[in-house]
Symmetry: D3
Subunit: 134 residues, 6 copies
Amino acid sequence: MATLGLVEYQAASPEVRAVYDDIMATRKTDWINNFWKALARDPALLRRTWQSVKEVMSPGSLNALTKEMIYLAVSASNQCPYCIASHTVAARKAGMTDAMFTELMAVVGMANETNRLASGFQVEIDDRFKTPAQ
Amino acid sequence: MATLGLVEYQAASPEVRAVYDDIMATRKTDWINNFWKALARDPALLRRTWQSVKEVMSPGSLNALTKEMIYLAVSASNQCPYCIASHTVAARKAGMTDAMFTELMAVVGMANETNRLASGFQVEIDDRFKTPAQ
Amino acid sequence: MATLGLVEYQAASPEVRAVYDDIMATRKTDWINNFWKALARDPALLRRTWQSVKEVMSPGSLNALTKEMIYLAVSASNQCPYCIASHTVAARKAGMTDAMFTELMAVVGMANETNRLASGFQVEIDDRFKTPAQ
Amino acid sequence: MATLGLVEYQAASPEVRAVYDDIMATRKTDWINNFWKALARDPALLRRTWQSVKEVMSPGSLNALTKEMIYLAVSASNQCPYCIASHTVAARKAGMTDAMFTELMAVVGMANETNRLASGFQVEIDDRFKTPAQ
Amino acid sequence: MATLGLVEYQAASPEVRAVYDDIMATRKTDWINNFWKALARDPALLRRTWQSVKEVMSPGSLNALTKEMIYLAVSASNQCPYCIASHTVAARKAGMTDAMFTELMAVVGMANETNRLASGFQVEIDDRFKTPAQ
Amino acid sequence: MATLGLVEYQAASPEVRAVYDDIMATRKTDWINNFWKALARDPALLRRTWQSVKEVMSPGSLNALTKEMIYLAVSASNQCPYCIASHTVAARKAGMTDAMFTELMAVVGMANETNRLASGFQVEIDDRFKTPAQ
């Protein structure tokens, strides 16, 4: 009903409920966070985004913890308050200790600093950094 | 002499040479990449930046490979060409396989997408994501 | 009086009032939002910014709705809370439906994802994308 | 073979070729641009990204031209050279005139300016911009 | 003639030439850089942008050098290659020494680092930083 | 004790207290703002960040006020609420008047606008902006 509202489980269509059920089953939780309830205003957007996140975040060559920390690193770099809050919790559930968190932030901070130094000094890419196949 | 030039080893002051030597010793290489040669125009900036990078990137609770991948994730998110080129090479040296690289990029891409969805939908932070101690 | 305060209509100078009057007349509203009241601390900044916004946002080859949606797309991409809130309302007034909003956000999200994939994979620009006249 | 190389059609696996074929059929072209050839190093990433782009960019409440212009607006705001080049061409194919392009850029520029003014002046969100249902 | 081309002085309309003349007179130079030649595809965009830049960059409470360095700081932070190149030259003309440049970059780098630390650690704004009038 | 908590002076280790003492002595204040209390969860991060900030922000070729305004310009451009709030106060203490603040923001806004115009129009760097020594 609400234009910018959140779609609660009980008010959701079967299509949306199916996604919610899969989110809870995959994450082994019994609740849905606001992000998904907001996307549910557009069931196709909800389904597509969840499918992509599920696929991307499932363990592969990188384990779940590493993936969550990378997600958090990007969110902190982009300064997205919702994403930082939610992925800090997610990363902790995946095993991130406080020491890992502060080291992660130290790398994020340093990368953001040196990114600007490289750009500001107009540093040209060294030949050795240009891989032959590119 | 050149205003925006690179400081080569043979033209460097003892102070700059000492940093260059430490970079090569720490990284077990025999060359200095352009980033440091550019910063060397300001020896204090060179020394401070190198000390911080050295300290931040040394293995701790996170290993060297994870740290390099986080650095690359931030650089890709910030779209810094020099930093992407140099840290892709650095991450590969630290053990990043091609499968790890593409998974890393998939997470970076997805985080950048959902960061904007969370902001654009004006999603409020769930109470469960607000940690008590904050 | 207040250093970071808002300049209300009744306390405004004739120069500022003239801009406020034009904003209300152009937008067919009877109030001024905080953004303009903040800029009014510097009447020249207020006048210049309003003149530019008025000129840029008036219908031309692109209609008012399309322009408002582009404004919102950029604000969501930049993650500016004030701008997202104000331009969501403005776009709705200009005719943006809920379906248009969610499609807009889907494009914004996808563009932010593929922007980083293109950068992270260091993709070179295809010759066919380099227009002759550039 | 090449670590950071592009996967050409003739060297592609059946899975990758199927995506390439769909891209060409959907876009009514006979070539694949570098972006997809780069993602093809990870067939799952290629398939998922293409499926999402195809779904998001197909006409719905917003037509193809509007979607392409929004994509370009975000890419210009993010300053991604590859994405600007490719989506400028795509938007032109979809009907963007030169007048539409310059108006689009004018809006992108103005939004980027006022986003920072709103943040820098620490402007609080007006009550009227807070929708009841949020 | 060219879609994405640059408008040279000899091919420019009287309206565009008037702006070019004012740029050269204001800057005391005898040439026009590519940025303005590109904007000239849309004479109204050219005129409006130049008028704003001229007004904003003229000395006031801040002198020309300080303004140029702030422009460069933002451009380096945004990692815009064209803007960094052009405003480095402009700042030097306004009196920026090499020592000022490297200190400027050091501040830009440090601000980019601590911005992310503040966001990533979810630091709440101290009461003393909330000014009464806001 | 708290995972995301702030380290207060009385609960701090001698190592952290030493940094706090140096911050208060350097800034001639009797309190520590939340940013440092958050970093103190990782004493090495606290010490390193403070040492860098202290070194970078001390007057050199640029005076303290100019440095604070550059810091604020970057923070506004990055849209970091904490950093904008804290550095607005810091810049005012260093002597920034209201007129200087609004001129600063005008430059930040304009730079953010023209950065995107330069990128969106794919403007090539003029030869005269490529310095010989680079």
